[in-house]
């Protein structure tokens, strides 16, 4: 390997990439447990499909749009690395191979569109969603990742490298970005049938807890891994992640106990995720005491924010706006107060004698990403809705989207249910698709009719 290569850093970043990958299935369970039995598979696979689509697009053109040399004004990467051309196995990005860096960043690009799916639970056509994921990462995530993550000594992305916005691991590029896209999409698709009227209880809180645990675990790769080196900054980011998450769980539960009279398991899981979101941009620039403050504020504020959808009447089904947009905004803005100037970055926040300068920069980062994501996502959602249609029919939504879109049901705990299911064919001979089924039925019916007719004739003769 060339000079400057660090085996330790490379090992750490590769493991972090694997940790971040696990967050997407974790998110699938976190969301999947919160929907009703009839749409849990759809919810799971909406996250899962992002792993497939985004990984392929990343190699084709995603990496070069995000991390290729700047094409001008810090807005987007050029096409030097189209199809990963020109990237040698031993080329370095800092102290690690470009391949390792690219794998790590890919996982961020995967989970960001998956986060959006919670806003439109139970009601999106799967094909339309897959198309949205492909288009959204192309026009929204890849450019925004370039703005926020691409540093090239002043010639990189405009937000991070030219204005000086601090976003250590993706408070703007990932969370505000996904949260605002979620808001746009739930406005495009409209409310679920029965919103605010029918009970829409989470069907499995244990799945939600499992999902939030996997997210928490994976988030150490997300945040500490963003140091891109196995060093003190990674250790600091790791600790801040743990502390803010813990404090946010306490903040959410305290709010909930005061307001609704109970400490709920869903509140504990949601508070943890709110804390993870809020510390994401800040974990490389605040002290551990600062992380506690960020966590407490984010936990309580997100718990309060999720009731907005009932007041304002938008059906952000699983609170992508309340948790990810609001949590991302809180974390990003609090950097302007709490950046110490000697953790990862030199910029100081208001409370550390840095004045309002950094706070202003943070506000620009938040505003720009929120506005861009909301507007483009809304236009994209409308375009899909007006052409191929984004929402399933009312009948499908009421009956459950799993059966109509995926031809499966999530659970079969009933012995009676299993025996009622009639196999249309075995995999060895024919696949039970919709096209062969009517043909088989017709073939079965035809001989029956002849038998009936001959029987009738016989009775006539006998009579």
């Amino acid at each position: 390997m060339p000079d400057g290569f660090s085996a330790g850093d490379t090992a750490f970043v590769l493991i972090s990439a694997a940790l971040v990958m696990l967050m997407t299935p974790g998110l699938a369970f976190f969301y999947g447990g919160m929907v009703r039995v009839k749409s849990v598979l759809n919810m799971l696979v909406m996250s899962f499909i992002a792993l497939a689509i985004v990984s392929v697009l990343w190699v084709l053109y995603g990496y070069t749009l995000s991390f290729g040399p700047d094409a001008g004004a810090g807005l987007i990467g050029n096409l030097d690395f189209l199809g990963m051309r020109g990237i040698g196995m031993n080329d370095l990005a800092g102290t690690i191979p470009v391949t390792a860096f690219s794998a790590f960043q890919l996982m961020f690009a995967v989970i960001t569109p998956a986060l959006i799916s919670g806003a439109i639970a139970d009601r999106a056509k799967f094909g339309a969603w897959a198309l949205f994921v492909a288009l959204w990462v192309t026009i929204v995530y890849f450019p925004v990742a370039h703005w926020v993550f691409m540093t090239d000594s002043g010639k990189g992305g405009w937000l991070v490298d030219r204005i000086g916005v601090i976003d250590f691991a993706g408070g703007t590029a990932v969370h505000i970005n996904a949260g605002m896209a979620g808001l746009a999409l739930c406005l495009v698709l409209g409310k679920r049938i029965g919103f605010k009227k029918d009970p829409m209880r989470p069907h499995s809180l244990p799945l939600v807890m499992l999902g939030s645990g996997l997210l928490w675990f994976g988030w150490f790769g997300f945040n500490a891994g963003s140091a891109l080196a196995a060093n003190g900054l990674a250790g600091m980011a790791f600790m801040n992640t743990q502390i803010a998450t813990a404090a946010a769980m306490l903040g959410w539960l305290a709010y909930e106990k005061i307001k609704h009279g109970a400490f709920t398991s869903l509140g504990a899981a949601s508070g943890a995720v709110a804390g993870l979101v809020a510390i994401t941009p800040a974990c490389g620039s605040v002290s551990m005491l600062g992380a506690i403050l960020i966590g407490l504020i984010a936990g309580a504020a997100c718990a309060a924010a999720i009731s907005l959808k009932y007041k304002l009447g938008f059906d952000d089904s699983l609170d992508v706006v309340g948790v990810h947009a609001i949590g991302g905004v809180i974390g990003s803005l609090l950097i302007g107060f709490l950046a110490t100037g000697h953790v990862g970055q030199t910029a100081k926040g208001l409370f550390y004698g840095g004045g309002f300068g950094q706070l202003g920069k943070q506000a620009i980062g938040v505003g720009v990403v929120a506005a861009y994501s909301f507007v483009i996502s809304w236009l994209l959602g409308q375009a899909i809705n007006k052409t191929i249609g984004f929402r399933v029919s009312e009948d499908v939504e009421v009956a459950g989207i799993d059966q109509a879109e995926h031809a499966e049901s999530a659970y079969d705990f009933s012995a009676v249910g299993a025996s009622l299911a009639r196999a249309l064919g075995t995999p060895a001979h024919s696949t039970p698709t919709h096209s062969t089924a009517p043909a088989e039925q017709a073939a079965e019916k035809a001989p029956e009719k002849t038998v009936e007719k001959t029987a009738e004739k016989k009775t006539e003769v006998d009579a």
Partner: protein, 112 residues
């Protein structure tokens, strides 16, 4: 013959079953049920959305007995199911025309 149906609190099932067995009842059918009478449901909260759950879990017991045993069986059942608190449930009986043991084809009281 009579069909005795009881809708009771789930946690009383073991005691009721034991009491009926001790009385000499050889078989019964149990179904998970839900419903409400004077006992109303409870409130659940999910991310601030409050739901009133009206239907309370119950078990429904069905047992076929000969006519002259019916009153005693009902008494045994009610005694075993009672907690004295609201929501203990209901027991009722209806006449049954016929019963057949599927394995042997025996009919009437022989099938019990």
């Amino acid at each position: 013959m009579k069909l005795i149906t009881a809708v009771i609190k789930p946690h009383r099932l073991e005691d009721v079953k034991t009491a009926l067995q001790d009385f000499g009842i050889n078989g019964l059918t149990v179904t998970e049920a839900s419903g409400y009478g004077r006992q109303r449901g409870h409130t659940e909260v999910y991310r601030g959305a409050e739901y009133t759950v009206d239907l309370v879990p119950k078990v429904r017991i069905e047992v076929l007995v000969e006519d002259d045993a019916a009153d005693d069986v009902i008494e045994v059942l009610v005694k075993a199911a009672r907690t004295g608190k609201i929501g203990d449930g209901k027991v009722w009986s209806v006449p049954v025309d016929t019963a057949v043991r599927v394995r042997t084809g025996e009919r009437g009281p022989d099938a019990l």
